[in-house]
């Protein structure tokens, strides 16, 4: 009989607190999936490092006080014109800050990025006292590998450092190329950090475009039905038949100065069909719901019903193809760069892979590090997508329990 008094307050408590909303329930479910959560953390970490890439690796100071003024030359990595012209055409720094700052204004000071390496060019001799130049050819072995071998040697008494790095160490201190350097002497770590920007940008922008088109089209088709549905569904089918890669290759041949933005637009305008179909399905289902009828009865406008009432409830399953889409957009960009069709002025993981292809036997680091980056990023997005799918689909949740 003792159970009654215990149960009683529990029931009332449940009645008093408002039931969990769809989103908070989804988040609660999502949190339970450790892998998905780790993936989300990975993606966020990647996003942050992409955003602050110039602060992690670069050769331009983040902040400098020069001739009495504050400047932010590292902004040039986001947009060339954000670097003050005083360093370019006026005082002729020629892209070499450390010595020019000292020479032209001994009073100046600067805050430097964590790693003094450029994603676009190799480090030359005497750029910064004490920092050795990047070697070209197959000599730019990863610093990380050096540390690893050193640790191994001290643990097991082997002599791998001498074997692998002996010749390089004779030439003086080892250049600080964490992940090695390409055969042109460009630091792989710097390229990967800045390349993360490219990957993130491609993923988000192209899927943003795709989502905008896909949701609008799908919503219109599902909500209005009838001939609009028939027409839009045919359009979706037609677009599905267009191979994005071929379209991109054709576009690159036409455009005077093709850039990553063109690629993103093409991926966006060809990759929305899955989203549109899903949205259409959700809308077909949800427009039958009582709350929609209620909203209609209250005199809400079509747009209001579609986007405030239905879309909110349809959005969760739609996020799933978007997450997968980001992963595939990153893959497409890498593939294009790998084939040599990427934006040549932008560092990218695929481009590193491409450079590693010719010398795979000697320069394994050109394959390993960007390969891992692509693998983990794509995997993370897929895990997030999967987590979302499971978290928002009550049927799968039940099946899982």
């Amino acid at each position: 009989m003792s159970s009654v008094p215990v149960e009683q307050p529990a029931v009332t408590a449940a009645l008093e607190t408002p039931s969990r909303g769809f989103w908070s329930e989804a988040w609660r479910q999502f949190r339970r999936r450790k892998l998905s959560l780790a993936a989300l953390a990975f993606v966020i970490g990647m996003g942050v490092s992409a955003l602050f890439a110039p602060a992690i690796a670069g050769t331009k100071p983040l902040v400098t006080r020069y001739k009495g003024e504050l400047y932010f030359p590292a902004m040039a990595y986001y947009n060339r014109s954000w670097e003050n012209a005083i360093f370019r055409t006026q005082d002729k720094f020629r892209g070499r800050y450390p010595q020019n700052l000292k020479q032209k204004d001994p009073e100046s000071w600067a805050i430097w990025p964590l790693v003094y390496q450029d994603p676009q060019r190799r480090l030359y001799r005497d750029e910064w006292e004490g920092i050795p130049p990047n070697p070209t050819g197959a000599k730019g072995k990863p610093y990380l590998y050096y540390l690893w071998l050193k640790g191994w040697d001290s643990l097991f008494g082997t002599n791998y450092v001498e074997e692998e790095f002996g010749e390089l160490l004779k030439d003086g201190p080892l250049p600080f190329n964490l992940f090695g350097a390409t055969d042109r002497g460009v630091d792989v770590f710097a390229q990967m950090v800045h390349g993360a920007q490219t990957a993130m940008l491609v993923g988000f922008v192209s899927m943003g475009i795709a989502a905008a088109i896909g949701i609008t089209t799908g919503a219109a088709a599902g909500y209005f039905g009838g001939w609009i549905d028939i027409l839009l569904s045919r359009v979706i089918e037609v677009v599905m038949c267009i191979p994005a890669l071929v379209l991109i290759l054709a576009l690159l041949a036409i455009v005077e100065r093709p850039s990553i933005w063109h690629i993103m637009v093409v991926i966006g305008i060809t990759g929305w069909t899955g989203i549109a179909r899903l949205t259409r399905g959700e809308f077909l289902k949800l427009k039958q719901m009582e709350y929609v009828t209620a909203a209609k009865a209250l005199g809400a406008g079509r747009a209001r019903i579609m986007f405030r009432h239905i879309l909110r409830n349809a959005l969760a399953p739609i996020l799933v193809p978007i997450a997968f889409g980001i992963a595939s957009a990153i893959l497409v960009e890498s593939a294009l760069s790998f084939l040599g069709f990427g934006d040549p002025t932008r560092p990218s993981w695929g481009k590193l892979l491409d450079q590693g292809r010719d010398s795979i036997q000697e320069m394994w680091w050109l394959i390993l590090f960007p390969g891992l980056a692509i693998f983990f990023t794509v995997l993370a997005y897929n895990l997030i997508g999967e987590g979302l799918q499971e978290a928002t689909d009550p049927r799968m949740r039940q099946a899982g329990h």
Binding site: D183, R184, E256
Partner: protein, 658 residues
């Protein structure tokens, strides 16, 4: 074995790995005529399309009928000059007799080719001809590497550089040129060669001991028939028609005496008589039935088992995989007498491997005996015991130059000062030392400094000098007037920022590296340069229509400098940068009319200097050729066009007795 007549003269080089392998894939053609060399993707070039279309619709008349004078009339009218008829192998033997090997063969085989000295040692010891045939393994089979399949075994259908190696051993050529690119009549094929004083006629007498591989004698009528077939508008000849079409007529006065009639009196007419020869008795009637020479059952049969005139004949062919040719005994013995040297190999197997990494692996495994290797492979993948276990490697200078071509009609580069500024802005040392590891020589102009037509004291190679570059840009009016960090200039009332694209062939790693270095250097002086890789056909179209600001490319050497006319004369076909200078135009015209070699050289030297003055291009480097050879091979000698594309070329290579 005569000489490799399938010359790639000028090549607009893509350095795409496969092209690089093919010696830069140009359509190879028999003549050094300017129009002969097409670009990279052989056969897709203008001439093939043009002729192909012509054959399908209304065939235009390519050859007007001509009533040649009789030989007596001609002899009465014309003053003949004897031209040299030489044996290339004897010439090489004489040359080598005066040279002592720097090291013994054993030492050379142990050497690692890590320096210029070692390269010279290896070539001096292993590049020698055999002292006698006793040293040579005459029963040997050599496996050669082909970087792509033959499109056709019919020599007049040749269109790609890869076919030149095959045609070089199965065909004959009336003329050859040696390692200094000097021309002479091929003694194995002709008895005499005379040219009229006014250069309007060439008279060639064939040797009487030439036979086809089916036993029929090869006569002057075969040559005439070949000429007429090439000029037959119904036959879709891809490449060899250009140059040949400069001939007015070819007449056989008896079975062995040929006279070639030229259209104009030009110094370089003789090159046009170099077209491939096909057997008249095989094709005489069949060409009319099947002008494609490829489709009918009869032609397919001869495509697989061609009747050839050279030292080797085809024994088997598997498309896409290999072609095996075997020595013809009739080549060296005629009526029981030895009339020519026996070729050094019993069999040659041409193995088709398209990917350079695979071909290097095949060489290491011993599956092939020789292959072209890339600069990266040379520096990085051919230094270990694994490579030297079976092979050695050697390099030779080529006269191929690489450059950046500026569009002189572009608002950016119309001013000579700007073009000079580009030359000074570019970090030549970084390119030579770091991109090419010191393997290539700097280029200053259109000719290699060793060439006979190059200035005796050529200008010094440019060095990077950013101050000078900026000074020149300021002088040309390109200053940062709006203070945005990029140079600009007011053109037609509009402020134009100095931002341009440099285009290059997709997949060419060398070009990509060079263009990115240029981008980096120009960024330092406030100019935005966007490297832009383009798919080959798009690149060709853009360059031919002058729709570019800058393009990176390369030209291989012609056997004669007149081939440059096609590149630098005002309005010329391949004057992509629309360079125009009256003085140069006049000098080209003079060069064609001047018959004296030294005076001609002088004219071309002036052209060289004028082009340099005007910086029509920014010349970058001369590419070397790199080859891996099996240790059993000897006798390889490098010419300005690599170890094969000259005379004796492949003929001098031999295998030691095991």
């Amino acid at each position: 074995m005569s000489s490799p007549r399938w010359l790639i003269l000028l090549l607009w080089t893509a350095t795409l790995p496969c092209f690089a392998l093919a010696g830069c894939g140009g359509s190879s053609s028999s003549k050094p005529g300017p129009a002969t060399a097409e670009n990279g993707k052989a056969g897709d070039g203008g001439s093939s399309q043009g002729s192909g279309e012509a054959s399908s619709d209304e065939p235009t008349v390519l050859l007007e009928p001509y009533d040649p004078p009789t030989l007596d009339e001609l002899n009465a009218k014309v003053e003949w000059e004897d031209r040299p008829v030489l044996d290339a192998m004897e010439m090489l033997r004489e040359k080598q007799a005066g040279e002592q090997p720097l090291v013994s063969v054993e030492e050379a085989l142990k050497l690692r080719n890590t320096s210029h000295e070692n390269n010279a040692k290896i070539l001096s010891a292993l590049g020698r001809l055999p002292e006698s045939d006793d040293q040579v393994d005459l029963d040997a089979t050599i496996v050669r590497h082909l970087s792509g399949d033959l499109k056709s075994t019919n020599p007049i259908m040749t269109s790609a550089a890869v076919e030149s190696d095959y045609h070089g051993v199965t065909g004959i050529s009336l003329l050859s040129f040696d390692w200094n690119m000097q021309a002479f009549g091929a003694a194995e094929v002709i008895e005499s060669w005379q040219t009229s004083k006014d250069r309007m006629y060439d008279k060639v007498v064939l040797r009487k001991d030439l036979t086809w591989s089916d036993g029929k004698p090869l006569t002057a009528h075969d040559v005439v028939f070949s000429f007429q077939t090439i000029m037959n508008p119904k036959v879709p000849v891809p490449a060899v028609r250009s140059g040949t079409d400069e001939l007015r007529w070819v007449e056989a006065y008896d079975d062995y005496t040929l006279v070639f009639f030229h259209k104009e009196a030009l110094a370089v007419n003789s090159w046009n008589i170099l077209f491939p020869i096909i057997p008249k008795h095989i094709y005489e009637n069949s060409v009319a039935e099947d002008p494609t020479m490829q489709n009918s059952e009869y032609h397919v049969k001869f495509e697989e088992q061609p009747v050839v005139s050279g030292p080797y004949r085809v024994v088997s062919r598997r498309r896409g995989q290999e072609v095996v040719v075997e020595r013809r005994d009739e080549w060296s013995t005629f009526n029981g007498q030895e009339v020519r040297r026996k070729p050094h190999f019993k069999r040659i197997r041409f193995l088709v491997i398209e990917d350079p990494n695979t071909s290097l692996l095949a060489l290491k495994k011993g599956d092939i005996h020789e292959t072209l290797i890339t600069a990266d492979q040379w520096t990085q993948q051919t230094n270990d015991d694994d490579f030297y276990a079976r092979n050695t490697k050697a390099t030779g200078l080529e006269w191929t130059e690489f450059h950046i071509c500026w569009n002189t009609k572009s608002p950016f580069f119309s001013d000579k000062n700007v073009r000079w500024a580009m030359g000074y802005a570019f970090d030549h040392d970084e390119m030579l030392e770091k991109i090419f590891y010191g393997l290539y020589e700097p280029a200053v102009g259109v000719f290699h400094p060793d060439a006979w037509m190059a200035p005796k004291t050529p200008p010094k190679p440019l060095k990077q000098d950013l101050d000078k570059a900026e000074e020149l840009l300021d002088k040309a009016g390109w200053e940062d007037s709006d203070g945005d960090g990029t140079r600009d200039k007011e053109i037609n009332g509009e402020l134009v920022p100095f931002e341009f694209s440099i285009i290059y062939a997709q997949g060419s790693t060398n070009a990509e590296k060079v263009c990115n270095l240029l981008r980096e250097n120009l960024d330092q002086i406030g100019i935005i340069c966007n490297p832009r890789p383009l798919e080959w056909t798009v690149l060709q179209e853009m360059t031919q229509n002058h729709k570019f600001h800058a393009v990176m490319g390369g030209w291989g050497t012609g056997t004669d400098p007149y081939t440059l006319e096609n590149i630098f004369k005002t309005g010329a076909e391949r004057n992509y940068g629309e360079y125009s200078n009256k003085k140069v135009d006049e000098l080209f015209a003079q060069g064609m009319k001047e018959f004296d070699q030294e005076k001609r050289a002088d004219i071309y030297r002036q052209i060289f200097m004028q082009l340099y003055e005007d910086q029509a291009y920014t010349w970058l480097f001369h590419r070397s050729s790199f080859y891996g050879f099996n240790k059993s091979l000897r006798g390889y000698v490098f010419s300005p066009r690599g170890p094969y594309s000259y005379s004796p070329g492949f003929e001098s290579i031999w295998m030691v007795k095991p």
